[in-house]
């Protein structure tokens, strides 16, 4: 009852966040590769309510992805080796973007290239398209032979891709980082210096699973990326490290299933969060997470996201 009474005094835009000039109505986005191009989840979610939709990774040409089997459930998580199957940037603009433009939601295009020049060309094409509000640069896919993590694991290569994309667009540039490195803060600092407006982390952790009856890997790609609740503590630790190492906003990703999980990331210092595997389990997960964050804000009498983000107390730790 108290919450109901309090809700009437909610300041409009209480959940709003500003990430490098990109104003989101709330800090909840969908993670790339887990929400298709938005359309897939429109029957279950009000897309207008989302902070942003990060679409499936786009490459210059369509990609057919890896052979099956591509996924395997593991303890409290799943492995995937999809290999960035996508329609290509041109088909995205022609066939998928018009659908997304009907909604009052920020669209973030996740991009991928095998070469630095491919990242540049995809950025160039997307920057001219109406209805793309930011670019998320994927330098962290563990499931492709060329590109992907080959750029994300090395500070110089990560900086070079970032600089190329930065120079090609006036849209906010978010760089998505891999956890499969010795020191993620080193990569974060490198892309910050190269002009990234924000970083998002983590992408999946490389993992493996074996069918003991057939003595074969469960995935045709042998290894895959681990996601889901199993990775959340690792993701949170890396967000904690990165928020203390860079000045740009950090977007937290990794095993967020509930509003409580999202709040852990926000309190730790993430300016926004992305919801991934949870969409597969509960198609309306994002809606419940948004509601849960709002209820928490009311319950704790927090007026705006700025007062929540990074409010972690560590004195005496």
């Amino acid at each position: 009852m108290e919450i109901e009474a309090d809700k009437k005094t909610v300041v409009p835009g209480r959940l709003a966040v500003d990430i490098c000039g990109l104003v989101l109505k709330n800090p909840v986005m969908t993670a790339s590769g887990t929400f298709g191009y938005g359309e897939e989840y429109a029957p279950f979610c009000d897309l207008n309510r989302l902070g942003a939709i990060v679409v499936k990774g786009l490459s210059l040409e369509p990609r057919q992805g890896n052979p099956p089997p591509r996924i395997m459930e593991t303890c409290c998580g799943m492995l995937n080796a999809v290999g960035l199957q996508n329609v290509g940037v041109r088909a995205f603009i022609a066939e998928k973007l018009p659908f997304l433009r009907q909604f009052n939601v920020k669209v973030i295009a996740n991009i991928f290239g095998e070469t630095i020049d491919e990242y540049r060309r995809v950025t160039e094409i997307l920057t001219r398209a109406a209805g793309v509000h930011a670019i998320e640069v994927n330098i962290s896919c563990p499931n492709v032979k060329k590109g992907g993590v080959a750029f994300g694991a090395y500070p110089d290569a990560a900086a070079a891709v970032t600089e190329m994309v930065r120079g090609e667009t006036d849209l906010p540039v978010i760089v998505k980082l891999t956890p499969n490195v010795t020191d993620i803060t080193e990569i974060a600092r490198a892309v910050e210096s190269a002009g990234a407006d924000a970083v998002s982390l983590i992408n999946t952790l490389t993992g493996m699973s074996v069918d003991i009856e057939r003595r074969r890997p469960h995935l045709a790609n042998v290894t895959g990326g681990l996601s889901g609740p199993a990775v959340k503590p690792v993701a949170l630790r890396m967000v904690w490290q990165v928020v203390r190492s860079v000045k740009i906003p950090v977007i937290g990703i990794g095993g967020i299933m509930t509003a409580d999980d999202a709040l852990e990331f926000l309190i730790t210092g993430a300016s926004a969060v992305q919801i991934g595997t949870a969409n597969f389990i509960h198609p309306a997960a994002t809606m419940e997470i948004i509601d849960g964050i709002e209820d928490y804000m009311i319950r704790h009498r927090i007026g705006c996201m700025k007062d929540l983000i990074g409010s972690l107390q560590t004195d005496g730790c």
Partner: protein
């Protein structure tokens, strides 16, 4: 036209063992749940459990609307941890049901003879097709339906009662305990010459080995054939792209289609079998 899918909270009305390792789940759903098309599936999950994490895709075996609610029946085989837990659900348990999902069977008006070919629990979507009525609706003319049901033993011919008396029935068991002794595709091979290739349509669902034998059997005929495939899935709605099957795209090129969204029903001729992957 398929109706819009939704997520519903279902209540287990009955959970009955029908054969060793096979069970029939009867779930009560709100009336708002869309009517499935035969061949479509649902993703079910126990909301009380955090693990297993992912919902499991199960073909619709029967769907009825009653006063105030709908009743969904799922015929399942225990294959892993998820289905094993479902097999032990008690009456009154809740399940989240996402669906109906995927592309079902399509029957062209010129089809005069339908052959339903099932292996084991693969009988489920075909039984729904037969019971749902559109196969034999009045404007379908003099359409004949013959079911070829195969299983390891007579006991494992699950769903038999849904075919008996509703169509011509041919059974095959590996141990000869019912009908022909051997694979159901062998039995079909014996009869196949007796069907008119132009007006016959085969609809099949069963283990990968059965579908592959069927593919080989039909390769030199012009009989149309749609098969319902199964694959591990995460989302069921075309987002994760985890459940793909390799498809011939012409000029020797391979493409991948999602079993959840582009299927689970495919034309058998489209499918590319990859021995190194399928084992």
């Amino acid at each position: 036209m398929a109706e819009k899918p939704s997520v519903a909270i279902g209540q287990v009305m009955e959970n009955r063992s029908v054969a060793p390792g096979h069970f029939l789940l009867t779930i009560q759903l709100p009336l708002s749940f869309a009517t499935p098309i035969p061949g479509q599936f649902v993703m079910i999950r126990d909301p009380e459990r955090g693990e297993p994490l992912l919902p499991r895709p199960i073909s619709v075996y029967d769907f009825q609307r009653e006063e105030g609610h709908a009743i969904l029946n799922l015929l399942c085989r225990v294959v892993g941890r998820g289905t094993s837990l479902f097999s032990r659900l008690n009456r009154g348990s809740t399940l989240t049901v996402l669906g109906p999902l995927g592309r079902g069977f399509t029957i062209d008006p010129d089809v005069r003879q339908v052959l339903l070919v099932a292996g084991g629990v693969g009988a489920a979507p075909l039984a729904f097709l037969l019971q749902e009525g559109s196969l034999l609706k009045p404007d379908s003319g003099k359409r004949k339906v013959t079911a070829y049901l195969g299983a390891g033993t007579s006991e494992l011919l699950t769903g038999l009662d849904r075919f008996q008396g509703f169509c011509d029935l041919r059974a095959a068991t590996d141990d000869g305990s019912c009908g022909y002794c051997g694979p159901v595709t062998e039995l079909l091979a014996i009869d196949l010459g007796g069907y008119d290739a132009k007006s016959t349509l085969i609809l099949a669902c069963g283990p990968a080995a059965m579908i592959r034998s069927l593919d080989l059997l039909l390769r030199d005929t012009r009989i149309r054939c749609q098969v319902s495939l199964e694959e591990r899935m995460a989302c069921g709605v075309g987002a994760c792209q985890g459940c793909v099957v390799a498809i011939k795209e012409g000029e020797g090129r391979i493409g991948y289609r999602m079993v959840c969204k582009d299927g689970p029903v495919f034309d058998i001729g489209e499918i590319l079998w990859n021995p190194s992957v399928d084992g």
